[in-house]
Amino acid sequence: MKPPSFVYHAPATVAEAVEALAAAGADGKVLAGGQSLIPLMNMRLAAPGHLVDINHVAGLAGITAEPGGVRVGALARHAEVEASETAHAAQPLVRRALRLVAHPAVRNRGTTVGSIVHADPAAEMPAVLALLDGSVRVRGAEGERDIPAAEFFTGPMESSLRTGELAVSVFFPSSEGGTAIVEMARRHGDYAMAGVAALVAPDHARVACLSVGAVPVVVDVTEAEGDWRRAARLVQEQIDPEADIHATADYRRHLTGVLTERALKAAADA
């Protein structure tokens, strides 16, 4: 299991990175932490012709407080974000969710932005971003734009990031009220069979579910008015989970209901 050959680019600036990506076109991939990309390459399930390594690009590692939330740069490792008091103060859900991401050694190298751009519907951070209605800031040849989470995730491992664009940061908004995330994986650190991130604010409540659709599924459960069992039923009606070797679709739906109730309770108590 050895990766195929590729042309290696090591830009020093975002502009150079964007230029290299644009030149590579559809055959180009960004290398940040590599914790999702390199396994696929080792198995030769991915064979990008060009890798644009952004590990040497200046100014991408920041974790900075901004009005109404925290901005996490494309080179901030999961472990750094997890440890960041700035991030924690702005949005405590981020740390809690990151502790569920794989294992410590993977979090030391993998990046939070990379995980979101990878857009795996079974991953925690896309669901967190979707729940909080955060956004992804991308830079392309035509400049910079912010993509709201609701528009960012378009399918399994698919996002609205265009060819030639580089995600430079994500923004996790602070939230009024409590948040929580609960999930159930086969083994500790595995992708979850089901998981629910919840936000309970004074005037509304919503959840984001993982592993039950093509993208993180956000469901507004304000109408349940604090009856979290009812909220769970609302969520179960709106998800369309698929079976895989670890769980049947029925079980995923059931489990999402149980976890919805638990997450909402925890968020309400937070």
């Binding site: 299991m1 050895k2 090591a10 290398l31 472990a79 050694a105 190298r109």
Partner: protein, 158 residues
């Protein structure tokens, strides 16, 4: 081909390799440091764990070229003055290894962990080594070994 220089166990080491050379292969085959083992090459087993600038990472999920210039500590670099480190002794004392193939990954992981958490609880230890697979020991004596290493480190003092 790319010139890659790493500070490995405190010594600058150089080789000219293709961009796709994994850090695990760079260490093992280009530098001859075969103590770092490769158990899955998809980042799950943790046998290839090395310390990159002091932090445990999967060498099989890292391109050597990408970390050129950085510091790497492998199992060969854990001993001090020719003597096994407290973590290494802890594993030997508590029968924390059988076939020994996964052991380098546990040793590097535990070394970084105890540096940051000198007096860990049982839960801390379990979380710390939760990303490393072992097929021989059933983990019982690995957990014991990490606790013993913490004791040995405390005895050694700062």
């Amino acid at each position: 081909m790319h010139d890659v220089t790493l500070i490995v166990n405190g010594v600058p080491r150089h080789a000219r390799v293709p961009a796709r050379r994994l850090l695990s292969d760079f260490l093992r085959h280009d530098l001859g440091l075969t103590g770092t083992h490769v158990g899955c090459e998809h980042g799950v087993c943790g046998a290839c764990t090395v310390l990159l600038d002091g932090q445990p990472v999967r060498a099989c999920l890292t391109f050597a070229v990408s970390v050129s210039g950085q510091e790497v500590t492998t199992v060969e670099g854990l001993a001090r003055d020719g003597q096994p480190s407290a973590v290494q002794r802890g594993f030997a004392e508590c029968h924390g290894l059988q076939c020994g193939f996964c052991t380098p990954g546990f040793l590097t992981t535990a070394t970084a962990f105890l540096r940051d958490n000198p007096a860990p609880s049982d839960e801390d230890v379990i979380e710390a080594v939760s990303g490393n697979l072992c097929r021989c020991t059933g983990y019982q004596n690995i957990v014991k070994s990490v606790h013993r290493a913490a004791e040995l480190l405390a005895e050694e003092g700062p």
